[in-house]
């Protein structure tokens, strides 16, 4: 147990922070209950996928600035395809959009590998391109979503044998998040490919000399990032019922949560659990600010300031580590 705590020290600390924040929330608003937790989980969903997308790339030693734009594009694509279509058609739309995210992510990775332009520049350029493509698909928020997709993340998971009071704390959105992330992350973490991703993030040269196919691994890392971003885009469409072509604040939020989640911006360190808990922490802070009846615009400022402070702190730690 102590060994586990030491290895997962950062994540357990974050989890403690989350619990503490939760208690504070309960103190501020004694009526805060399972329903509010459900809406928190729904609000977290797109952020969590954005963070997962960023985490994979950061562990591989890169950064993906196109996450938010990718989410916008996949979201409008899904929304415009599902608008007015039958419920069954959505069964085809979901895999299509996921595949689109995967392929576009792979294109990102290929551009980085082929042009040898730094990832930050390439993804900045693809950020523009994807944003433009999203505007071409839908030039104003619109479209629709299938009812069963929307139903997928609203309500709670009925588990037979559990009392309703506990059952109510298991929102479907949380389950969707856990299932989607685990399906990809756990096999990845245990596979050779996962190890290669950590290896190229830790030291590209050492990885290359140990026979890791660096280029292929990098492309796959970006493709996975695209896949997660597509999930985020779908989550956006699912929770709002429409698609919006203007990217939300997911880029900065994803970088902040990655840093707060204990993933070194240099690459090669950390896991997926930390950033996901970090995202819950950041969202809960927002809930608290709202419960304190602070002007939503001021909330945006405070939130932005927290994220900037977190990123500054992360950069400071990285710098100290290097010296």
């Amino acid at each position: 147990m102590s060994h586990f705590l030491r290895r997962q020290g950062w994540v357990s600390g974050l989890f403690a922070l989350f619990v503490a924040l939760f208690i504070i929330t309960k103190l501020i608003q004694p009526a805060y209950g399972s329903g509010d937790f459900g809406s928190l989980a729904r609000a977290v969903l797109p952020y969590a996928f954005a963070v997962a997308a960023q985490t994979v790339v950061v562990i591989a030693g890169g950064i993906d600035l196109s996450v938010a734009a990718m989410m916008a594009l996949t979201s409008v694509t899904a929304a415009s395809m599902m608008a007015g279509a039958s419920e069954e058609y959505a069964l085809f739309v979901v895999p299509f959009v996921l595949a689109m995210g995967f392929v576009l992510g792979a294109v990102n990775g290929m551009l980085i590998v082929v042009t040898r332009v730094p990832d930050i520049v390439v993804t900045l350029a693809t950020l523009f391109v994807l944003q433009g493509a999203a505007l071409l698909v839908l030039d104003a928020p619109g479209g629709g979503a299938a009812e069963w997709l929307k139903g997928l993340i609203s309500g709670t998971v009925p588990i037979p044998g559990l009392p309703d009071s506990i059952d109510a704390w298991l929102p479907k959105a949380l389950l969707v998040l856990i299932v989607c992330l685990c399906i990809i992350w756990i096999p990845l973490r245990r596979s050779r490919l996962g190890l290669s991703i950590y290896a190229i993030g830790s030291s590209e040269l050492a990885a290359f000399r140990s026979g890791v196919p660096v280029k292929r691994t990098r492309i796959i890392a970006y493709a996975l990032s695209g896949l997660f971003a597509a999930m985020g885009g779908l989550a956006l469409t699912m929770s709002t019922g429409i698609g919006a072509p203007i990217p939300g604040p997911y880029l900065l939020a994803s970088v902040a949560a990655v840093v707060l989640g204990g993933v070194a911006l240099g690459g090669g360190k950390g896991g997926l659990l930390g950033p996901i808990v970090a995202v819950f922490v950041l969202r809960l802070v927002r809930t608290d600010l709202t419960l304190l009846a602070i002007d939503p615009n001021v909330t945006a400022i405070i939130e932005g300031a927290i994220m900037v402070a977190v990123v500054m702190f992360g950069a400071f730690i990285t710098m100290r580590g290097r010296q």
């Binding site: 950020l127 523009f128 030039d139 970088v255 990123v311 500054m312 710098m319």
Partner: protein, 328 residues
Amino acid sequence: MSTTAITPTPVPFGRRVKRFMADRPLIPLIILLVILVVILQILRPGIVNERWIANTIKFAIPLAILAGCQTMTMLTGGIDLSVGTVATMSAFIMATQVVNQDPAVAFLLAMMPAVLIGIVNGIGVGVFRVHPLIMTLGTSLIGTGCLQVYQRTVIASGAKIPDFLAWLGTGLTWGIPNALLLFVPLAALIVFTLARTGFGRLLYAVGDNERATRLSGVQYWQVITALYVISSVLAGITGLLYIGLIKAPSLSLAEPLVLPSVAAAVIGGTSIFGGRGGYTGTIIGALILTVLTTLLTILQMPEGARRILFGLIVLFVTAAYLRIVEER
């Protein structure tokens, strides 16, 4: 061994062209600009006249100043994505404060957020070593939030555009845009600073080899902080000029200029990795983009396609630039 080295190998034509373009980046740029204007003239015969040229220059100037911010920050290997927000903030504050205040006071109030954001950017990048892109994105998010809060407090008082700014932004004197009165000295100052002063040389040095610069006793954070403050102040001035041109204060006034400003600097030959480039190329880059925008508008290309094109331009120019540098 050495016998092979004596016979000079003929340089292939393609490589010669590449080297020429790398040595004199201005000439291909001007050729490109002329080609674009010719295409425009062919598509819409008679469009290129005195009025059109004055109009193009009027719209290119705010873009060129913002691209100047990008050029200077890119010389150090950075980028400033907060220029759009800063320009919007100063424009909006100027337009709303001038209703009740003296123009000079309103000007000072309008420049305050610019200086503040510049300082925060500079400290974040220079002291804490956050990547400039992330840092300036963050401050622009905070700035937008502040502007939204501010907007509520002035909703009752309304807004007006000071006559002086309208004159500067849209006015013509003998067919020449008045904005050139501001731009020409400003551009000369930037070119002079970059080429002839110690500060300019420090920017190139920091971008070229930061470690060597630091070991030679340069206070990195001071240079960076000064740079980002200058960049923000320039963005603020652009905002004032732009509000005189657009004449409709809004909360997303200058946002559409951010992306083209990066593209203009990249097209103008400034390396996004730092250490190379200059402002004259950027000015021509801004002109090219303005003409290109006109062209795309005539071709009825939607906004989305325009963004895609700008993104591709940034990517291809950077990749091509990398090839040219590697071949030397």
